[in-house]
Structures are given as structure tokens and as C-alpha cells.
Symmetry: D3
Subunit: 238 residues, 6 copies
């Protein structure tokens, strides 16, 4: 039995609210149950130094968590003077995931930065962030297209992410915080709308896992990504 | 004429939405027009080293701004590795303002941290933060009282803040961003519900100002703080 | 009774010794009683990036305190790796105060940095720093004029600063350290030689204050600034 | 054709030289072809604060690269003042991988730190590091056992790691640098000696991959880990 | 010919003004010509962690330079967030030099920190700092003795420092800035009042030097230290 | 008696193994007994800003120590976020020592960085580093000459370094760690192949020393440098 009473293959309620930040070129507030992430996409005309003059753009991400998104207050990274290893790992993952569906040449010499800030955390913040960041990115590219700033089709596919895990011996989809701290195995899947893998990260938190278990998790992930892809499409009105 | 069409003594629409963060002991989302600040109050049982064993508590604040709260993206302070002088100035001001109405001995050996994170910025973020932080603080103290964790009445008064300025020669209340960048004089007032001053910060951005002008600004501030105090009371159901 | 035996409206002995640093374009050693601040003005031909090519200059300030300016040793900020919030707040105030009397276009594309280093601290270091920094700045501009490096009259007025406070119920002028730690209200006033306000910062350290109290402090400040302005003029031989 | 002329399922020459650092409780120099990593294990009697008094130990890792391990000089992280996101990601992975086979209660209140310093880099530094770190760890535990410092069997299994990828359309084992920069998909597998998964990290660098491709990579990984496990055993003389 | 017109073995005018900082337990303002260093000694009852409970004290030093001590403004180390290698080298040298004449057991569990802040720099700041720091230290120990806080005689000898160099082929004593930048060889000598060496640092800035040259420099240093020792004694009224 | 049983004037076994890092333009692994330092020379085409366009090159050095080069683990400087004062002092010394024998104009606008990383530490790491760095530098310059990238003869002489000290009253050559911690006086000598001094650093760790003692140390150093110079020549096949 899952603490939330969900079925093993049941995701939490997911909502995607577009235009959540008035000033950004694209934005959304994404919720996976009680996990809430504000995603904004900022279009800037300066690319990183090593890309300058190459006719290509860049997509990157930053991740943060408000101090009281968590059950007890977490120290503010700006105050401690450095981003934790976990933060850096997550923001690198978000950036890689989005770049997998972007044609950087069609983007032109432009950088889009996705800021994913967790307002409330209840497990799965990185998967919610990727799923929401895609919507914010799509809106920012729409904003660019409306101004004829792109050089052809920028988005080759959509991208979303979901976690799966083995909780008390059973493979389950979309772990919440209570499940996450106790799961034997925890895996994050980033997949395209067309059902291919962009990134898999599976970790044995307790006992190592075998191929059969990994296969069950992959099956759950494929189902979950399918549902998220529909929600992204619906949010984007496509 | 104000860019927003407001009267000189007219504040922006102010809303205070309590319990905006599920996990905090107190919280609210405060809006002064398009400026939106999420304020959370965290009760912790460790006080700063220099207060330990003295039977007194502490109230402190941290302030942050999401990178895309602003018209163009602002660099994330966690990424740059330091909080700006402006950030530190504001969070010191918020902490001082709240401590002015708190009986630290009645609080007991407890620290309450107010996190004020700006989701959208349109001028007046520090005054909105103080006004909202008071509500979050009051809720956190209510939470403590319900658990009999206080030693008597903690809050001696309420506190709120408002900006005033001289815009194109006219004293106006509650500057928005467009007014703020152009105002000759900019002043922030922190006042108690009973109408006394906790902090005044007046700055001549353009021409220096005289006592008569300062007096007009004080009059506007008294009126604005009166309105904010009513809204705080109403939000707190008192 | 004030600890020093001074009358409520009596400032400490103020001295301004010009040319206190051989190598700076302008400098002075300013003393407000036992508070001593060395102020130097450095003329540099590089302006901040955002001002480049705009035909305007900049005036900025840095503030520091020698570790043993205080009764017990204070940690060296260079060793701790960051400037405190208090330091940043003060140096931003000094810069703003000086810019209020400078015509940045007449200055030309030049940056003047005022370094205010506290050799001995006995309360009022920021007000002494502003008062002395103006003299160092005036000398640096004189140095530029002698070399025909300015584009017209740079200084529109003089500027000085003084603290006032309510000490044991009485409004007093120019608080020393003993008064400062005990004052109910502490206010710093930055004013021009012509008697207008550039900056007011009033803080209730104990009980909140009312308009009548603030008015008494303003009266004292006007008197004190008047005296300081005469001393600045006399020091500058004008 | 692979640049090195290897068969798709052929690993590079792997050597493990024990006792490569005279002063460490355990150490080895591991080479995967031209990639060389010095791994040392340090036994210390202080555990992290959050573990103190719980009767359990900890295993952690740090990773570094000498500036000229690479084809062009890489900036020294000690000089730049921060460890990169990549470094933190790798050292977290090494620590997690080792802890998966360690009984932290049997270890007792002791921390073992694995330092993995890359002397030469030619792709696969993190997999070589994990494979070598296990040997250093086993030696450090042997050192503890010889002094009767453990509380029963500490190592539950062995652990090793290997990379696989899709290079020019073909799944290959143990990518070197030339293959790594060009591979469409790059995956790192951490597995136990008994053939179970501890961690899987698969990334589409170019085109997203499908389940069939992932299955080929898993097959290669199982074979490679089998070979590495034999080499670890042989090095440890077991 | 030396730029200053001095004879090769002629030091600059040296002055030592005791009690230059009102609040420190010992202090002096030392000048070697136009080089001026404010030295303060602070007695604190906490020793470094590794000395705690060992019945011994510690003497350490910190060094700083005001931004405009130099001909062009030097960046403030507190603002850049780190002390330069040069600063650290100098403050380590000052600490070592003073500890060479201190009986740390007689000092008791006390730390004395010498802060040496350069107000004006014209070459030889580290030698002036050591020479002045000794006087401040002696005064602080006198202050402790007057309160019976020491355990016997703390100072075993006096210590002073001087630079020598080969300038345009001639060995000269006490280089000023103009000589320093041009000298082929530059050496700093730290010696006790009884004429023994505590530290020698000789550097070939241009051509390497031979033993004969080093011997001439040692001769000059012995003479200079003799003169400085007399001045220290005279300042201390001994 | 020396702990190692060596004669007072006997150095440890010294070995210099060239081409120890495959990718560097020059490199060697130098051992002074159990002290082992990997030295690499990297040729880069960007010089420091202040040298740009002056037709001259630069030689600089960085120094590091692997955490477990020492008997107990030393904290990794990349993790603590700053290089210690000791590290900075040593890397400045290595750079100065090498520049003393380099014609920077013949080098052309090129920077050579010597990275000296201590793999095992048993005293004398800085002297081994200088001695080995010279060999790496010579190889890098050979590499440049083979590509006709220099403008004439770059190396004016060779350079090597050795420590001497007074150990239990006897002057000895090349201190190992056990001697180093106990020596009364410790001196490092950097000398050219032609027998001249580049740098002398002598420190009284216990009792101050006199000229006679310094002379004995110099005699030992001259002998030791003579031996090292022959080994460098032999390693370089010259």
C-alpha cells in the first residue's frame, strides 16, 4: 500500500499552469501533487563564450529551492555562498534533457535559461522541473517565432520526466517524499514525446536491483511519460 | 499623472493570502499590485550562539528574488556565490522591523526566520515583504501559542511598511517600478499599527529634498500604513 | 546627562586634516571625537562597464574598519572572505551621498573611489566618513581642475552627515559609542551645505518614535550639519 | 571501426596496482588503457555530525583531476575556489556506489574517505575510479580487520563500473576519449560482483535511444563488469 | 647614487610612536621614511583549537594595506574576497618572526594577534611591520604583566627586520620603492636584538647573486638591525 | 645520528623520470627519497593581461598535494575553496625560481605553467618540485624549439633546489619529514647550475642562528645543488 493510497501505476494529480510569471518569455507553474515548481524561460542574446560566432544557440537551466519548500527549513544557498552538489547535478540534468529536443542551429545565437524554483517539495522535484521547463521553453520559442527570431523549427520533439522506484518490494510510479526516503531503488527517466529515452538514472538506495526490476520500472516510466506528454500538449493547446 | 492612472494618495491593490506554504508554521503570499512576495515563518529551536542560555529568542529574515521576477533576468545569487549589498540591506531591514514589535523574552529560546522571496517584482518589494512577513510571523506565533510554547504575549503591536516618493514634483504613495526609477525622492516607512515609526529611510535620488516635502511624504505614509494595518487585521481574522 | 558631559546639542570636537595620504589625489583624516577615519579619493580613468561610452563619470565608495579600531578585536573582512552586510550598507550610503552633489557629466568618463577606513571607532563612523569623504572628493576634483580634466563645475553643493538619537528620553546630537548602544532611537542625516536632505535613516532601536521626536532630531541635525559645513569650508580654505 | 582498433565488446587493458600510496590504509593505481587514477582510502575516527553516536560509520569519496591529465591544461579547482558541478556529481556517485556494498554498522563509528585523483585522463575516469576505489577500500578494511577495529563482515559484495555507448551506430564497451566525444549515447553502469545493478546513468548525447539499444548496452556492461570483478579479485589475491 | 641621495649604508628616518591605537593592549605607528604601518596587539583568551588545554599561548599576525597606500589604487582584499598570496606570505613571516622571541609557555593560554596595516607604502612594508609589531607586542605583554596574567618572562629577546639589496651594482641598506623595483637582488633579514638570525629571505630579481654579495648584504643588515634595536629600546623606554 | 642513518652531507636517493605525463609538453616524476612530485609543463598561447602585446612570455607555477600524500589525510584545497597560505607561498617560489633562468623575450608571447603535484610527501616537497619543474620546463622548451616557436636561446642556466638544516646541533643536507619537524633551523636554497644563488630562505624554527651556522648550511647546499645539477643534466641527456 502506498502512503497516499495510490495504485502502483498511478501518478499524482499533475497540473500545468502557463504564464505563471508575467515578465518571462515563457513560464509555467507545474504541480506533481504537493510538489510545485515555478519554471521560467528567459531569452537572452548573449551565448556562452565558447559558442560565440558559431551561429548556434544554447539552452541551460538553473535550479533552486525556497528555504521553506521543505518540512524543516533548508539553508538558503545564496546565504551559504555555494550551490550544493545536488543542486548542480539537477540543473545539469535539466539543461541536458531540454537540449536533447532542441535544434541549437535553428535557435540562432541566443541563450535560453530555464529557471526552475521549487516552491513546495514533496518528492520528484527534478522530474516536475523538467516537465514544466519544457512547457516554458516551448512558450519562449513561440515568443521568438512570433518575432521571427528563429531559423526554422527549433523543437524536434517534446520531453518530460518521471520517477519510479521499488517501494516495499513493489515497482511504483511517481514517488512522493514518503516513498522516496524509503524506496529500495529510485530511478528517474527523461523521455521524449515519441517514447525514446533521453536520460536514465537508476540508483539502488538499499539492495542492488536486477534487470527484471529495471524492466518493470521502464514499463511504468513509459506509461507515465505518455500521460505527461498529453498534459503538456493540452497545456500548450496543441 | 501616474503611469498607472492612480491618484497620488492611492495605493495599489493589496492582497494577503494566508497559508501559502503548506509546510511552514506561518506563511502568506502578499501582493502590492504586480509585486508578489512569498513570506514564510520557520520556528526553530536553535538561537544564534551569542543568545544561547539567555532565555530570549530571536527573529531574523532572509530575502531573495527569483531570477525572472524582473523584466530582464537577474543573476541568481546562489550561482554568483554571494548575496548583494542590496539583498543584505533589505533582509537586515525586515529583521529589525519585525523585532521592533516582538517581545523576545516572551518568545523563549526560539528563533523564527522569515523568508521573503519575491516571485514578481514591480517596485516596493521590501515594503511588501515587511507587510507580509508580519502576517506570517503572527501565524507562526499563533502556532506556538496553540502548543503553549510561548511565555506570555509575544506581539506588542503590528508592523507594516510602505514607500512614498516625489514623482514629477508630486508626493505619491506606494511607488511602482516605473515611478521608482524616475522619482526624485524615494522614502520607505516602517510603522506600527498604533501609528509610530519603526524605521524611516529617505533618499534623494535626484534633487535633495526639504522638510516640507518630507512632511508630505510622512502624511501619505501614515495614511497608507493605516490601510495596510486594516488589511493585515482582516487577513488574520482579528 | 550624557556620558561625555556634553550638552544635548553639542557635537564632539571635530577636526579635518587634509592631505593625510601622500599618494591620493585627495585625502583627509577626519575625527569626530575619538572616531577617526582616513578618507582617500582615487581618480581612475576606467568607469563601470554599464557607463562606458556614455560621457559620464561615477563616484563610489568603499568602507573598512581596522580590526582593532574597536574595544575588542573585530575579525578582518579580508580574512573572513566577505564584507559584512553592515559594511556594504555603509559604503553604498557613502557613495549615494556624494553622488547627490556631483554633476557626473561635468566629471567626464572618470571614476572617483572614496576609501573610508576607520582607524578608531567610537560611534558615528559612517557620518564622519561622509563628512571627510566630501573633503577628499573636493580635493580630488581640485586636482582634476588643475589639470583641466573636468568639463565644467562638478560639485553642485557640499555634503555632510551627522547622527542624532533619543538617549534616556532626550534628543541628543552626535552620539558616541556609549550613547549609541543605549539609544532608543538612532537617526543618521545626510544634508547638503545649503540645508537640504540627501538621506535620512531613522531606526527605533527600542520603542518606536513619533513625529514630534523625529522633528526634534531633524532640528538638531540641521544645526549640526551647519557646523560641519563651516568646518569643511574652513578645511578647504574656501 | 573503433579508433583504437578494439572489437565492440573489448575493454582496454586494465591494470590494478595495489599499495600505490605508502601512507594510506588502502590504495591502488588503476589504469583503464591511458586513463590512470590513483585511489587512496583513509580511515578516520570522526564521522559526519549527523551520524555521531549512532554506532554507524560512513564511506565517502572525493574526486580530482591533475591540471595536465588532459590534452590541454584544465584549470586547477583549488585555484578557481570551487569544485565544478561535474566533479561533485562524480564524487557523489563514487561514494554512493561504494556504500551500496558496505555494512555501515559493521564498520563502526569510522569514516573512510576514498580520494580518486586522475593522473591521466582518456575517457572513463569515473568508472576507473569506482573500480579502483573498491580495491583501496577492501585493503583499508583489511587493515582495520587486522587491528580488530570492525564489528563483523563489512563488505557484502564487490563493486565495479564500466561505460558503454553507441558509437557510430554500434554498441561498444569501455569508451575512450575519442569515442566519448562522438558517441550518440553514453551510459555508465555500476554493478556488484554478483551481477546486480547499483547505478545506471544513461544519457543521449545525440539522438535519444530506445529500449533495444539500452538492452545491448546492459549486455555489454554485464560482460565488462564480470571481467573487472575477476581483476579486482586477482589484485586482492582472493 | 640612490634616488633619495642616501649613502649605501644609510637607513631612512625611522620613527616609532607608541600607543597609536587607543583601544589596543599595545600599539605603535612605525615609519621607515614614507612607509607607515599601524601595528596593534590584541590579547584574547581563546587560543587556536589545536593548542587548547596545552597550557601554551600563541602569537599570530595579520597584514593589510589600505587601498590608497600605493601610488595607484590597489583593490581592497575584503572586496575581492580573498587575501593575496603576497599578503599571506607576509603575515606568516611576521607571526614566525615574533614567535621566535616569545616563550609561549610563559605567555599562558592566551593569543596575541598583531595587526599590521600599511597606511602608506614606499617599500619595506614587511620589515617596518615586524619592527613595529615587536614594540606593540612588548607593550601588550607589559599590559599583561601589570595584571599578573603571565607566567614568568615572556620575551626572550627583541626582534627587528630590515631589507638590503644590490642596487645598480652596489649593496645598499633599507630599499625604498624606487630602489626595490629596480634592485637586482632583494633580501629581507629578521634578527634578534642580540644579533642572531631569525629569518633570511634573499631573492635574485635580476641576475643570481654569489656568496660574496650575500655577505655584504648580511653585513649591512647587522648594522641596520643594530640601529633598529636601539630605536625599539628607546621607544619602549628601556 | 639522522633517523635515516644518512651522513650529514648525504642526500636521499634522487630519481628523475622524464615524460611521466603523456599529454604535457614536458613532464617528469621527481623523487627525493620518499617524496614524489609529478611536474608537468603546459605551453599556452595566452599570457597574463598585463603582458599582452609586449612581445614577452611568462613562466608560472601551481602547487598541490594529494590529500593522502601525508601520514594523515589533509583536506583537499578544492573542497575547502581556497589555497592555503603555504601553497601560495610555495607556488610563488617555484615560479620565481624558474623565471630566474628564463629569457622571457626569447620565449615569445607564450605562457608556460608548471604544475607540481605532490603524490607522496616526506619533507622537501618544494625543493623537489623546483628541481623537477626545471626538467619539465627544459623539455617543454625543447618541444617549442622543435617547432621553431622560440626566438633564440630561452634557458640561460639550469636551476635546482635543496633544503639544509641544523638537526640536533649538526648541519645536515636534504631534511626528510622526521628531521624537518625537529630541526632548529631550516633553510631552502635555490641555485643555478653555475653555482649562484637565486633564492635563500632560512628560518629559525627553534633558537636563532648565527653567521657561522648559515655558512655551514650554504656549504652543504652548494654541494647538494652540484649533485642535483648533474642529475638534471643526465636526465635531460645533455
Amino acid at each position: 500500500m502506498r502512503p497516499s493510497g495510490r495504485e502502483p501505476s498511478q501518478m499524482r494529480a499533475v497540473t500545468i499552469e502557463r504564464n505563471a510569471a508575467m515578465k518571462a518569455e515563457g513560464s509555467c507553474l507545474v504541480a506533481f501533487g504537493d510538489t510545485k515548481v515555478l519554471c521560467t524561460a528567459s531569452v537572452e542574446t548573449t551565448v556562452p563564450g565558447w559558442l560565440r560566432g558559431k551561429g548556434k544557440g544554447w539552452v541551460t537551466a538553473e535550479y533552486g529551492m525556497l528555504p521553506r519548500a521543505t518540512g524543516t527549513r533548508t539553508r538558503r544557498e545564496a546565504a551559504s555562498g555555494r550551490q550544493s552538489g545536488r543542486t548542480q547535478e539537477i540543473q545539469r540534468l535539466i539543461g541536458r534533457s531540454l537540449r536533447a529536443v532542441v535544434d541549437l542551429e535553428a535557435l540562432g545565437e541566443v541563450q535560453i535559461t530555464l529557471d526552475c524554483d521549487v516552491l513546495e517539495a514533496d518528492g520528484g522535484t527534478r522530474t516536475a522541473a523538467i516537465t514544466g521547463a519544457y512547457v516554458a521553453l516551448a512558450d519562449a520559442i513561440g515568443w521568438m517565432e512570433a518575432r521571427q527570431l528563429t531559423r526554422g523549427k527549433v523543437l524536434r520533439d517534446s520531453v518530460a520526466a518521471i520517477s519510479c522506484g521499488i517501494y516495499r518490494g513493489t515497482p511504483v510510479l511517481d514517488l512522493d517524499y514518503l516513498e522516496d526516503v524509503e524506496a529500495e531503488t529510485d530511478a528517474n527517466f527523461v523521455m521524449t514525446g515519441s517514447g525514446k529515452f533521453v536520460e536514465i538514472q537508476g540508483t539502488a538506495e538499499g539492495a542492488p536491483f536486477d534487470r527484471a526490476e529495471l524492466n518493470s520500472l521502464m514499463g511504468l516510466a513509459e506509461q507515465g511519460i505518455g500521460e505527461l506528454t498529453l498534459m503538456q500538449k493540452s497545456a500548450l493547446g496543441a
